[in-house]
Amino acid sequence: MSEAGGAVRIGVYICHCGANIAATVDVKSLAASAATMPNVVVWREYKYLCSDSGQDLIRQDIPNQRLNRIVVASCSPHLHEQTFRAAVAAAGLNPFYLQMVNIREHISWVHENRMEATSKAQDLLRAAVRRVARHEALERSRIPIHPDVLVVGGGIAGIHAALTLANAGKHVYLVERQPTIGGHMAQFDKTFPTLDCAACILTPKMSAVKAHQKITLWTYSEVVQVDGYVGSYQVTVKRRTRYVREDLCTGCLECLEACLYQEGRFTDEFNAGLASRKPIYIPFPQAVPQVPVIDPEACIQFKSGKCKKTCIDACGDRHAISFQLEEKTEEIQVGSIIVATGFQVFDARRAPYYGYGVYPDVYTALEVERLVNASGPTAGEVVLRDGRIPKTVGIVHCVGSRDENTNRWCSRVCCMYSLKLAHLIKERTGAEVFNFYIDIRTPGKGFEEFYQKLLNEKVHFIRGRVAEVTDWALDPTEEGKLILRVEDTLAGLVRRIPVDMVVLSVGLEPRSDAQDVCRMFNMTCSGEGFFTERHPKLAPVNTFADGVFLAGCCQGPKDIPDTVAQAGAAAAEALVLIDSGSIETEPNTAYTDEDVCSGCKTCIPLCPYHAITFLEQEKKARINQATCKGCGTCVAACPSGSIRQHLFEDEQIFEEIEGILTYA
């Protein structure tokens, strides 16, 4: 590389950006002032420096004028730093001998007075000129990318991402907390707006996951620790035991029949608590893997040790069941991670005025999904808890959504699933169905048409937020009913609507352990707990942790089509990493001068990226150059000044400050 050793010779290039800069900053006098600055041997202004001909100026001047430092005064380095670094490098100079001055966002777009703006531009330019003289040649390093991918969460998002990657020939670890993959989608009966059967479209994909050579499926398992960095993550997965060996079980389910419990006695989580299961169970008939789980909290053998163990007898010489099996820990190495941990539904008890948990005929929408499902607790019959068929049903929208007192965001799917449930309930029972809504939001493909269809089916729509669900009856027609009190804002009336069944359209919210998951994967999340994407428009599946991607509702509420689209995008981003084989890192990292480091450990807990390790032997801190993001926190905090940072060396910053403060 080039001539850093000799005298510093700086070229200054000032961009007009059309009129964006030139209208407010006097670029000619700015260029003239550059001539008076130390070590500046070339000064030019140009209409569009980022154009090919603009870059050519720099490319030609470097050899012709023997330049060894370049200052570009133009827009934000976010936009064109890479452009100009590439131009500098093309001329054979180390690209880190470039310094940019942002005279557009920092000056022309925020100032009106031309003289003041030009004077400020001169100060910033002088600072850059003084700084760049102190720059040193730096080298980018490359990190190899491990080709395996971890997908966390086996709902439709995780399933789709895993299959996409596996079909591209990549090895995927799919880790799911529940005993089966399928997620919330497996609980639904029909999907809006097409009313196709959720199981019919989901279960083939679930089976494909199980059968795929390239997918290692770990259900009933959780990621407990993530170390490392993009390209080389070490992940620890805790695998709970089902007390049934997956490698030996054939899925005959004879053990379920043989269990001493004739009937289910324990809360069936998959059926939203509307049914009971045995201590040994599979969540639902198409569960993947088709391997039962023993719940030690419920099983007689675990509680008293005095069971006849009829399940083991039924299993016979397959010997798949063992009460001695223990939880295992697996350590894996992956290059990238897709987080698809999903959502939980709003706990309707947090809106006590709707009577959930008080009145038995108040249901959440998820419970009704199970009621209308053919494999649900009532085999698809919509019946109340006492067996009656409801004649009137009220569906309350926005429970735990768009509400100052609970969750403020719109959950996006509730309008459409409420319409779907209204249709299914009416179809199954012939009941009169009332929807109570704030706004009907149907912005998807075919959604508005579905709403029209419901209107034609004579489903009632009452615009107003329900005040309360109560059982106090004013007259005999209300006796034994649940009464919805609501202001009908279209009719301008306060109404009391007596119904047999109330469905609360509960919103979607982050899982209660979202903050822990966020920390574990080094991501960021919004105040409410949804994981944040790197850019809301242009990097919607990336996170601020390199190599960690998002899919599905853990990023924000969304419906199945959007979830699948996002999962595909996340898989594509992971493929980009894998197929490029390695990624280049920025060299603006922090490093320790180990001769000066006193081993005080102040820096270690401060690092947001866990990039600093303490060398016990030497009693020194060492910064991992691959993990360091160059945030500078440790540099500022180090009491002995032994941590320094490339491109932010003390002498560079002091020169910059003096450049600004010099009276010209």
């Binding site: 106090w472 009856a473 004013l474």
Partner: protein, 302 residues
């Protein structure tokens, strides 16, 4: 055990329609070794009627009471009336939130040579009994066993809203828990925080009375034989208009409307004459039946 002392702000109702509340409250607190010391020179709290005419002036009235409480060295001020409770809390909240309210209050108190608004903790007896006296202690102090019917606990609107400090905003249960600890069965009462009509019974009479009709009807429907209240205005509204409601609807309501302190005071062995039971208007027959005179208690409380 040394007696805990609270500042006591009665408010106008305790000396008027709610006199039975004060009688039973003082009796009950005495039985539980809690002592109430009345605020000197107190004045109107500035409740509804004043608040809706000039909110700022109403704040000054409450602020004066709080300033005197501070001057008298009370760190906690107990007030049994829900309207007083809300007004005192409201001026504290508003002075904190709105600088112009704080300024007005500060100036006015200074002009009256009173100390500035301060952090006197405003408390309601329901919450004092629930938090400062444990339910177990109440259970252990029960000396009379309830043989009356089930009671609907009615909390009214002002005690829990908007601040939710005396109990849960949407589903208060502390009165139920206290009465149950005293051996009194309660019913699930969906209307427990609905409006009693407040001063509407005086201003837009039919509207106010209808609200009371709804409360009474639902209490009866849920199997309650009496309603227990924490607020003198609720008690008065529910108690005073039953004859009118009977005449208008043809429904035979005759429910005792009792202060929760009367029921607890009785269970904990309070002297019958000191519980103000003789002051009730409705449900007289039931009251006679539920709170019989005991041998030795010669003087009738009726």
């Amino acid at each position: 055990m040394t007696a805990a002392t609270y500042g006591y702000y009665p408010g106008c109702s305790m000396r008027g329609t709610g006199i039975a509340y004060e009688e039973s409250l003082l009796t009950l607190f005495h039985l539980l070794d809690l002592s109430l010391e009345e605020l000197r020179d107190w004045n109107c709290c500035g409740a509804t009627s004043y608040m809706c005419i000039d909110e700022n002036l109403a704040f000054l009235l409450s602020a004066r009471n709080l300033a005197i409480a501070h001057q008298s060295g009370f760190r906690e001020l107990v007030t049994p009336c829900s309207a007083c409770y809300l007004c005192l809390r409201k001026v504290q909240e508003y002075a904190q939130r709105y600088p112009q309210v704080a300024e007005r209050v500060r100036e006015s108190l200074a002009a009256a040579s009173l100390p500035a608004l301060n952090s006197v903790k405003v408390r309601h007896p329901l919450e004092v009994l629930f938090t400062d006296v444990e339910l177990d202690r109440i259970r252990s102090k029960v000396v009379r066993h309830w043989h009356g019917g089930r009671v609907a606990c009615y909390y009214g609107c002002q005690l829990v809203r908007p601040y939710g400090e005396a109990d849960n905003v949407h589903n208060p249960t502390r009165m139920d828990q206290l009465l149950q600890a005293a051996g009194v069965p309660t019913v699930e009462f969906a209307l427990k925080t609905k409006c009693c009509g407040g001063s509407l019974t005086g201003t837009i009479h039919p509207v106010g009375v209808r609200l009371n009709y709804i409360l009474l009807k639902e209490a009866v429907r849920k199997g309650a034989k009496a309603i227990a209240t924490v607020c003198p205005l609720c008690q008065y509204n529910l108690d005073a208009y039953q004859a009118e409601i009977r005449a208008e609807t043809g429904e035979a309501f005759d429910l005792p409307i009792l202060f929760f302190t009367q029921i607890m005071g009785w269970a904990l062995g309070g002297d019958l004459r000191s519980l103000g039971l003789h002051r009730a208007i409705s449900g007289r027959r039931t009251i006679d039946e539920w709170f019989p005179k005991h041998p030795g208690e010669v003087e009738s409380y009726v």
